[in-house]
Symmetry: C2
Subunit: 342 residues, 2 copies
């Protein structure tokens, strides 16, 4: 073996390290958003990330402050024609009635029990609230988590015949990863139930439960027969994480104004405004559901307000254009919508 003086060996180590670093850098320059077509939406994301993560750029953001928030329903996954969590609640009704047979002939449980989707779609908000209370509260947090996990394993979306967790938008998954690779902490900020989304957020989006902000009810601390303490989910609203509740929820749960926010409906308006109103470079993006073939077309894409499904009226589209938010057209900006498509 040839003996090499240590400094020389060390120099070689550094040289190889530099090669590795260059390799890593070249890798970082491969397209981080391959499911996005070139266009203003993709460009806005890439320019925002470059500006806020490049040392010396006037819009540089220190890593600790890099917060990005994402609405879930209609922004990260399909929410049309019905929110997944509502599907969960409706499909849990048979189990609830089995446990409490006295509900069998009581409305709205009687209507929902046969699994008639058309009848379900006609439920009043008051009836729906009764079903939500019966299926989302009254049990321990561990029992609830186990019930949701079990349901997600077998439940399927009626159109795609796939688990709901496969109906996430591939281009948005790429944005989540791209932001995280650039030091951003990604949060879900959903009008949906915080506890519901937390069950699958890590596996589905790479977002840990503590980075899910959602509509949240109170819990009650108590002791079981074995003397062990546990928390029971209560039908008492703590945070209605929708509309003005979104920036309020962001302050409560995160305590910093996001640098980037993504939404798709009127319920996201205040979060987008609040984000965009901060100093420096801020990214506000609004997903437009205008692809009736590959997904759905509703809202301004059809010239129709459709608040029921969580999308937005023309007025929000106009506000986006006026305030410098970037509209994402599913039809024109996304090459692929789902990972399972080839």
């Amino acid at each position: 073996m040839i003996s090499i003086p240590f400094p020389f060996g060390l120099a070689r180590v550094f040289a190889v390290c530099i090669l590795f670093a260059l390799g890593a850098s070249a890798h970082a320059q491969t397209d981080p958003l391959p499911s996005w077509k070139d266009g203003p939406a993709k460009q806005a994301i890439v320019e925002f990330v470059q500006a806020t993560t490049t040392q010396g750029n006037p819009n540089f953001v220190p890593p600790a402050e890099r917060i990005a928030t994402f609405d879930q329903d209609g922004t990260l996954w399909v929410s049309h024609p019905m929110y997944t969590q509502v599907m969960y609640c409706l499909e849990r009704v048979p189990a609830v009635v089995k446990a409490k047979p006295e509900l069998k002939n009581v409305e709205p449980f009687k209507t929902v029990l046969p699994g008639n989707r058309e009848a379900m779609a006609k439920l009043s908000m008051k009836d729906l609230e009764k079903i939500l209370a019966a299926t989302l509260t009254g049990m321990s947090v561990e029992t609830f988590n186990a019930e949701v996990r079990k349901w997600l394993e077998t439940a399927k979306d009626p159109r795609w015949k796939r688990p709901y967790t496969e109906l996430t938008y591939l281009p948005m998954q790429e944005v989540l990863k791209y932001l995280r690779a650039n030091g951003y902490k990604t949060y879900i900020v959903t009008g949906g139930g915080q506890d519901f989304v937390r069950v699958y957020s890590e596996q589905t989006y790479g977002i840990p439960p503590e980075q899910v902000v959602g509509t949240a009810g109170g819990t009650k601390y108590g002791y079981g027969k074995d003397g062990k303490p546990f928390l029971t989910k209560e039908p008492r609203m703590l945070l209605n994480d929708d509309s003005a509740g979104k920036p309020e929820g962001i302050h409560l749960m995160i305590g910093r104004r996001p640098y980037a926010a993504f939404g798709n409906s009127t319920g996201d308006r205040q979060m987008l405004e609040y984000t965009k109103a901060g100093d420096g470079a801020r990214l506000a993006m609004l997903v437009l559901h205008d692809d009736g073939k590959r997904e759905y077309a509703y809202g301004p894409a059809q010239g129709l307000p459709d608040t029921k499904v969580g999308t937005y009226p023309q007025a929000l589209y106009d506000q986006a254009k006026k305030q410098g938010w970037t509209v994402i057209s599913m039809k024109n900006d996304w090459k692929r919508i789902f990972a399972f498509e080839q």
Copy 2:
């Protein structure tokens, strides 16, 4: 220059990498808790970390689930004879009265205004609440943060004549760092104001604002004269993060049961019980203020209940012994209490 075949150079790189790795490993074996005396408290911490972070150990915890929660007042820093946040509120009164001169002759502001600490100590809870509401709410979150930051720069503890943020316990700072170095996410779970603690948590404890859970009021979303949105702090309680409110707050803000929890008072009882009741290895620790010379002695150390200052009665000490929590004696377990001591 001698040409070296690439594989040989690469082997050398790996060899050096292994040396570096060994060096890192040797470094990790230096004492992570130098301000702790050898004894059951230090041993409990080290054994817990080794058990939960060693692959193959029956109590191994995946990194994503490693959550540790710390009470602040009396656990991470001095809270005797008065909570620092209460000092802030009392010392803000002159500025509040300057902005609203009509309060000058109104109680309790009239009593507090001359800065008489003895008179302040005698305020009723109702009077204190009026002062808290006047100094902690009614302004934008940005204004509040700026006011707290400014106060912290000049305010000093009357005994040590040092900024309050220097009165953190060095041994607990070491525990925070030791847990983080082992993949634990460290949280503050305080009965104090969430927004107050968030102002200095990152600089003082290395804990970012989003990892501070505390007593929290609501905020209200609105628009300034310039049309820009902002949040106003409201005198409306969302989370009373004390006693049963601590596990409830942990569920709301984190969504996972901690593996380790640290407290010092009756207000921490439920957090410690809840943590200890989880499966596998769980660490529950209770700081005992028994060092009248270097800090203060109160609570069971004096055989006196003293709930006013956030410590605990004999009953909690007894529960700790019974349920396998580890008591930390400041007098016997800590070599040094503050970083500024030599």
